[in-house]
Amino acid sequence: MSEISNEMLFYGGLAIAGLAAVILIIFLIVFFIGKIKLNLKFDMEYGAKPKKTKNKKRR
């Protein structure tokens, strides 16, 4: 720890966390775009997914 300054810890940690957060956001965006694209592919291959309808429960 003595070789690593506190500034390095702070800014390094911040950079790592920030970079990872950016990567995560990018990943999530790409992931969800991919999911949309895959769903479109699935729609083509397996047919459109039936929309869920809300059924009111009768008591």
């Binding site: 720890m1 003595s2 506190n6 500034e7 390095m8 810890l9 702070f10 800014y11 390094g12 940690g13 911040l14 950079a15 790592i16 966390a17 920030g18 970079l19 990872a20 957060a21 990567i23 995560l24 990943f27 999530l28 992931f31 991919g34 999911k35 895959l38 769903n39 592919k41 699935f42 729609d43 083509m44 291959e45 397996y46 047919g47 459109a48 997914k49």
Partner: protein, 1032 residues
């Protein structure tokens, strides 16, 4: 004429026929509704009542994708099933037309068919677990309605009724069970099986009599047979190709043409082994309903998500935690730096207690990840505050007394153990040893209010109710007299006089409080400014002689009188009135000494009160300050303080400052002066400066010294510095003639000799203090350098063209050679290039030649190896060292210094200034310019570690076990050292007057005739010392 069956159904049209029978479109005559009438010619053995009950069950079937069965009857030995007429066409027709269906469409139909099968196979509709088995699922039995949905038609009613010998089958769609084959144990195909499956016209009796050649069991189709038929139907709908009749010859669908999942589902549904098929329609429907979830792409994506997101989350959390840790550590570090600065400020103010407290706070004992290691600044603050490396005798800051408001007056008791500080409008009595307040005394509301020690235990002060005598030990007022502001006490402590503001009389008391006399000033009064509440010009003189007989008083009109308190007739008028506005003075035995000042000019005079005559005096065009008491008459003028003989006028200098003296105080041993530059300086009785401090931005207005204590105060500050005389003679390790002038004092490694030297001369002492020899150094003005060799105690005197080495045992020269071309010092030996171009390395301890080589170049230097002029390339060797077994050396060329290793390889370059020297430690090279800031660089890569002391010349670097000691000479000639962290080179402690290091312990020379030694304190030791001090 149309045919009417069972008197109810009018045949409209024949819409189909096959091996099992004929299908008609008929009109239900009573309901007038179109129905389908399926005529089955196969014989049923079921009894009529059972038949009826089962048909009722069929009639109860109701599902979106199944036609409603209305009736079932037997007429003319033909079984008729009546059911809904479904408009549209069966799927076999478009297939025959060559039409193909999209995969999504087929999947949608498959789900609808499976929902229908789930309904049919449900045990509620038949004997568990079989339910109702359709038994003949194929495109021809699936109606496509105009709405686009499908309807499963043409139940095999016979099977539903439990008939075992009337099962029909459709080639390609029929499962092996339809052929009576049981392939559930995956037994290899046997003779006859294939043939049987290819004979699709045969009706298979379910008792298996026609298939005796196979060891296979004969089975009845069940729900899994429907699964097979559905799979085959889907196969046909997707591919447009009817599956092979023989299940073993079915060509699997292409995964390139269709989704691999669909292919797998159909393949599984069509598995010859019923146990390997979907075991129920629900299971297959589930697979179709979860195509997306079970798709490898979805799984792959989920797996990626499940790996990437947690990893990134951990990285984010880790990064955030690291940043948080760094932030907390930075905050702690910043706090420590701030506290260290506070500590230094407190130390500058003379407040040691606060300095130590702040330093301790900067060194938190609690350890955690969020608290960094001790900062160098905090360590330095503590060592400086504790003063562990200041072994000099003298008055050291001890406490700071802080008053509620600015100081008006401050005095010490005769023994110095008690102090009194006057402010508006109280006096604080304090203990100089502890710094604690003893009592706070209310004073008359005037800045003139005075407080004077009568003796060590008694104080006279201008109390709010009148002049008061206070017993310090008992903390009580002994008596109170008339109102008074100015107070005078006789030296014998038996008489006290008080004057209240500008009243024209003084009241004289004896020590018991009895009024002895009232001295009338007649029309005169002491000088009091308009508003004396906050201003005391200190222009008045009011003094009693030793026995209290005479009272001297100055007046506003410039008058000065000495009153005889016992007999007014004996009073002496010195000035009736004058132009003088400021008076100072007092009594010394029979002499009254005073100065009177106006417009910066003063007159000093001594009056012999016994003879009523002036003994002497003089006038100066500058202010003269006078302190007169039983110890003597002291006067100050400009920057000098002298003790003056009252009769002869002989002067003995007691202090000589570098600026005008504002105030001074003397005791029997020492003198303290306050100067206009706000310095406070202490001198011994020989007027030798003990130490000098500066009060910084605050005015140095009041000083007093008594016993072991001195105080310093200012009109513009409420803080009073208390100094204590410290005697560190217990740290003495060696004594020498204190009058012997020298620059350095060094102790040999074996501690047998001590050498005091400067560039002109050295003196060698034995360990017992006996002088061995004093030697004058020849040609002293040309001495280039001097190096003391600790191991032997030798002194190497280096010239540009000569080298002399003196023995540390005898003082005699052990090497003396001149006419040299070059001389270069390194810690392991002196390299010389003699006039015969011999490069020789001389042992500093013995003076003997270690190596000799013939130089070939014009210039060469020797530092363990030959460095010729080509290599130096007109550079200059400025430092060399032997680290382990390797040599390393620094060559400066212009503003670049290259560091080379043992092999002559350049390690790196660092910036350097003209006339620099280079020192080495195991891990660093330190450049020391003659004019500039020394800097340390890493020996590994040449990267800069830190700048060292600014405005001082680095003379030497010594590597200790856990520290590096750097020694300096300041611009003012002060020698000191800074203890450095070996890695960061941050300062850890200041060691003033460091003279030598022996066995890792610092030795100090204060040029007072002794050498003193201490040890390097670890931070834990310092903390312990600080805590012990706190507890004390």
């Amino acid at each position: 004429m149309s045919e009417i069956i069972a008197s109810t159904y009018e045949i409209i049209d024949r819409i189909g026929s096959g091996g099992g029978g004929v299908v008609y479109l008929a009109n239900h005559l009573r309901l007038n509704k179109k129905v389908v009438l399926k005529a089955d010619k196969r014989q049923l053995k079921t009894r009529e009542d059972i038949l009826r009950r089962e048909v009722d069950a069929l009639k109860n079937l109701s599902h979106t994708y199944i036609p409603q069965v209305y009736d079932f009857f037997v007429s003319d030995e033909t079984v008729y099933t009546v059911m809904d007429y479904i408009e549209g066409e069966s799927l076999d027709k478009p297939l025959k037309r060559g039409e193909r269906f999209s995969q999504p469409q087929v999947i949608e139909w498959a789900k609808e068919l499976l929902e229908a099968l789930c309904y049919l196979h449900s045990p509620t509709h038949g004997d568990p677990p079989r339910g109702i088995v359709h038994s003949d699922i194929k495109p021809a039995n699936i109606m496509l309605t105009p709405m686009g949905s499908i309807c499963l038609i043409d139940f095999n009613i016979a099977l539903a009724l439990g008939e075992e010998n009337v099962v029909g089958r459709s080639a390609g769609y029929a499962s092996p069970e339809h052929y009576g084959l049981d392939l559930s144990d995956d037994t290899p195909i046997m003779d006859g099986m294939t043939e049987l499956m290819e004979n699709d016209d045969a009706t298979i009796p379910m008792n298996g009599s026609e298939y005796s050649s196979s060891s296979k069991k004969i089975v009845i189709p069940d729900t899994r047979s429907d699964i097979y038929s559905l799979g085959a139907t889907l196969y046909h709908l997707l591919s447009g190709t009817k599956p092979a009749k023989n299940v073993f010859e079915v060509v699997p669908l292409s995964e390139k043409e269709f989704s691999p999942q669909i292919v797998k589902i159909i393949s599984k549904a069509m598995n010859p082994n019923p146990n390997k098929r979907y075991q129920s329609a629900e299971e297959m429907l589930y697979a179709l309903n979860h195509l997306r979830e079970n798709d490898p792409r979805t799984k792959r994506r989920k797996r990626t998500f499940a790996i990437v997101v947690p990893i990134l989350a951990v990285v984010i959390a880790g990064g955030a935690f690291t940043a948080f840790t760094g932030l907390k550590r930075m905050e702690s570090e910043q706090k420590a730096l701030t506290l260290a600065e506070y500590s230094q400020n407190a130390l500058d103010d003379g407040n040691i207690d606060m300095a130590v407290e702040y330093a301790l706070e900067a060194l938190p004992q609690k350890k955690s990840l969020f608290i960094p290691e001790y900062t160098a600044q905090a360590k330095k603050a503590l060592s400086d505050a504790l003063g562990v490396y200041d072994l000099s005798d003298g008055y050291k800051p001890q406490h700071v007394i802080e008053l509620p408001s600015e100081t008006l007056k401050a005095y010490l008791s005769p023994d110095g153990k008690t102090g009194i500080a006057v402010y508006a409008f109280s006096a604080e009595l304090f203990d100089t040893e502890t710094g604690g307040v003893i009592d706070t005394l209310p004073l008359a509301e005037s800045a003139l209010s005075d407080a004077v020690f009568v003796d060590n235990n008694t104080l006279a002060y201008a109390g709010a109710d009148g002049i008061s005598l206070y017993n310090i030990e008992k903390k009580s007022v002994v008596w109170t007299g008339k109102p008074a502001t100015q107070i005078a006490v006789s030296a014998d402590g038996k008489t006290i006089a008080g004057v209240y503001r500008d009243e024209s009389f003084a009241t004289v008391y004896d020590i018991s409080g009895t009024e002895k006399a009232t001295v009338s000033f007649e029309a005169n009064k002491q000088r009091v400014v308009g508003n004396d509440t906050f201003v005391d010009p200190k222009d008045n003189l009011l003094a009693l002689n030793n026995n209290g007989q005479f009272l001297a008083a100055s007046f506003e009109n410039g008058g000065l009188m000495v009153f005889d308190t016992t007999d007014a007739e004996n009073s002496v008028e010195i000035y009736d009135q004058s132009e003088f506005t400021h008076f100072e003075g007092g009594f010394n035995g029979q002499y009254f000494a005073f100065s009177s000042t106006t417009d910066g000019s003063s007159v000093f005079a001594v009056i012999n009160m016994e003879q009523m005559a002036q003994e002497g005096g003089f006038a100066l065009d500058s202010r003269i300050g006078v302190n007169a008491d039983e110890s003597g008459i002291y006067i100050s003028n400009k920057s000098t303080v002298v003790k003056i003989h009252p009769v002869t006028g002989d002067q003995q200098e007691v202090a000589y400052a570098d600026s005008d003296v504002r105030m001074f105080s003397t005791d029997t041993q020492n003198t303290i002066v306050a100067t206009e530059k706000n310095d406070y300086i202490l001198y011994d009785k020989s007027a030798v400066l003990i130490e000098q401090h500066n009060a910084g931005q605050t005015e140095c207005s009041f000083v007093d010294i008594a016993g072991d204590y001195a105080i310093v105060a200012g009109r513009d500050t409420p803080k009073i510095r208390v100094l204590k005389r410290i005697d560190r003679s217990s740290d003495d390790i060696f004594s020498y003639d204190k009058n012997y002038s020298h620059d350095e004092a060094r102790l040999s490694a074996d501690k047998s000799t001590v050498m005091l030297f400067d560039y002109k001369e050295f003196r060698l002492y034995g360990a017992d203090g006996s002088m061995i020899k004093t030697v004058s150094i020849p040609d002293a003005q040309n001495v280039y350098d001097q190096q003391y060799v600790k191991e032997s105690g030798n002194l190497a005197v280096i010239y540009n063209d000569a080298l002399r080495i003196y023995s540390g045992k005898t003082g005699d020269a052990v090497f003396d050679e001149s006419g040299l071309k070059s001389v270069f010092y390194a810690p392991y030996g002196v390299s010389i290039l003699d006039k015969d171009n011999n490069l020789r390395l001389i042992d500093l301890n013995s003076g003997e030649e270690i190596m000799s080589e013939k130089a070939e170049g014009d210039y060469a230097a020797y530092c363990g190896m030959i460095v010729d002029d080509k290599f130096l390339n007109e550079g200059e060797l400025i430092g060399a060292a032997k680290i382990g077994d390797e040599y390393v050396f620094a060559v400066a060329n212009g503003d670049i210094c290259a560091v080379f290793d043992n092999s002559g390889n350049k390690k790196f370059e660092i910036p350097v200034q003209d006339q620099s020297e280079a020192f080495f430690t195991d891990a660093a090279v330190i450049t020391s310019p003659l004019h500039g800031t020394p800097a340390a660089y890493r020996l590994s890569d040449g990267s800069k570690i830190a700048d060292l002391e600014v405005d001082s010349y680095l003379t030497y670097i010594t590597q200790l076990n856990d520290y590096v000691m750097s020694e300096y000479i300041s611009a003012s000639g002060e020698r000191y050292a800074i203890l450095l962290d070996p890695k960061s080179f941050e300062p850890l402690a200041r060691l003033p007057q460091l003279s030598d290091i022996s066995d890792g312990e610092p030795i100090f020379d204060y040029y007072k005739g002794t050498l003193r030694r201490t040890h390097i304190y670890s931070i834990n030791e310092l903390i312990e010392i600080a805590k012990e001090g706190d507890n004390a």
